[in-house]
């Protein structure tokens, strides 16, 4: 029997959205799902190699999380890749708009992906958007 497929589209750039997307990806991956994530729009900037800029919170939870021992979203995504079957793709359109090359991004990211291929792969499973 093949693994369930979980596709996650991330377009928001707030701390809460990135955190929740990373939580879903990591839990899904370590629970046996085949996870693919597409980082697009305002999310991609936080995956520039060596980026230290933290995403801004959009509400109370995000502001409160800052002082708590919450696993950082990038660490969760690395766990999803290393401990499970997850692929985190940068969106090729967002890369073109930003003038970003693959070598400018975090090394744990997979190859750039277009929306057409992402949606084709997502057709056989669940698709979540953050």
């Amino acid at each position: 029997m093949s693994s369930p497929k979980l596709s996650i589209l991330v377009v928001g750039g707030s701390l809460e959205r990135l955190q929740m997307a990373a939580m879903v990806a990591s839990i899904g991956a370590v629970s046996g799902a085949e996870v693919q994530m597409l980082l697009s729009m305002n999310s991609l900037q936080y995956f520039a190699r060596g980026n230290t800029q933290e995403p801004a919170p959009e509400g109370t939870i995000g502001r409160t999380m800052a002082g708590k021992k919450v696993p950082p979203f990038k660490q969760l995504l690395q766990h999803a890749v290393e401990l499970g079957d997850a692929k985190i793709h940068p969106c090729s359109m967002a890369m073109d708009v930003m003038g970003t090359k693959s070598e400018d991004l975090e090394p744990f990211l997979a190859r750039p992906l277009g929306l057409t291929k992402f949606l084709a792969d997502a057709a056989s499973g669940q698709l979540l958007t953050f």
């Binding site: 990591s26 839990i27 629970s31 046996g32 021992k69 919450v70 696993p71 401990l83």
Partner: protein, 76 residues
């Protein structure tokens, strides 16, 4: 020979305790027991669910003074 180790994840929020447990299980030998200490309330239900799903063995789940002691055995 099997062994038992304790993972102290107190203070870490979901899914930190589960991730620490998974990392420990990967390094353990089959039959080893791992006791996870967690103050994350979701651990009491989420970790048994994960253990059941992936096929390891739950030994016990006990709450003591606000700390969950979750003991699992690596089965495969």
């Amino acid at each position: 020979m099997t062994s038992k180790q304790v993972i102290d994840a107190r203070g870490s929020f979901c899914p930190g305790p589960l991730m620490e447990l998974i990392a420990a299980i990967r390094l353990a030998d089959i039959g080893d027991e791992i006791e996870l200490l967690s103050t994350d309330q979701g651990s009491a239900t989420d970790i048994p669910e994960w253990i059941h799903k992936v096929g390891h063995e739950m030994v016990s789940t006990v709450s003591d003074s606000g700390v969950w002691h979750v003991v699992v055995r690596k089965a495969k």
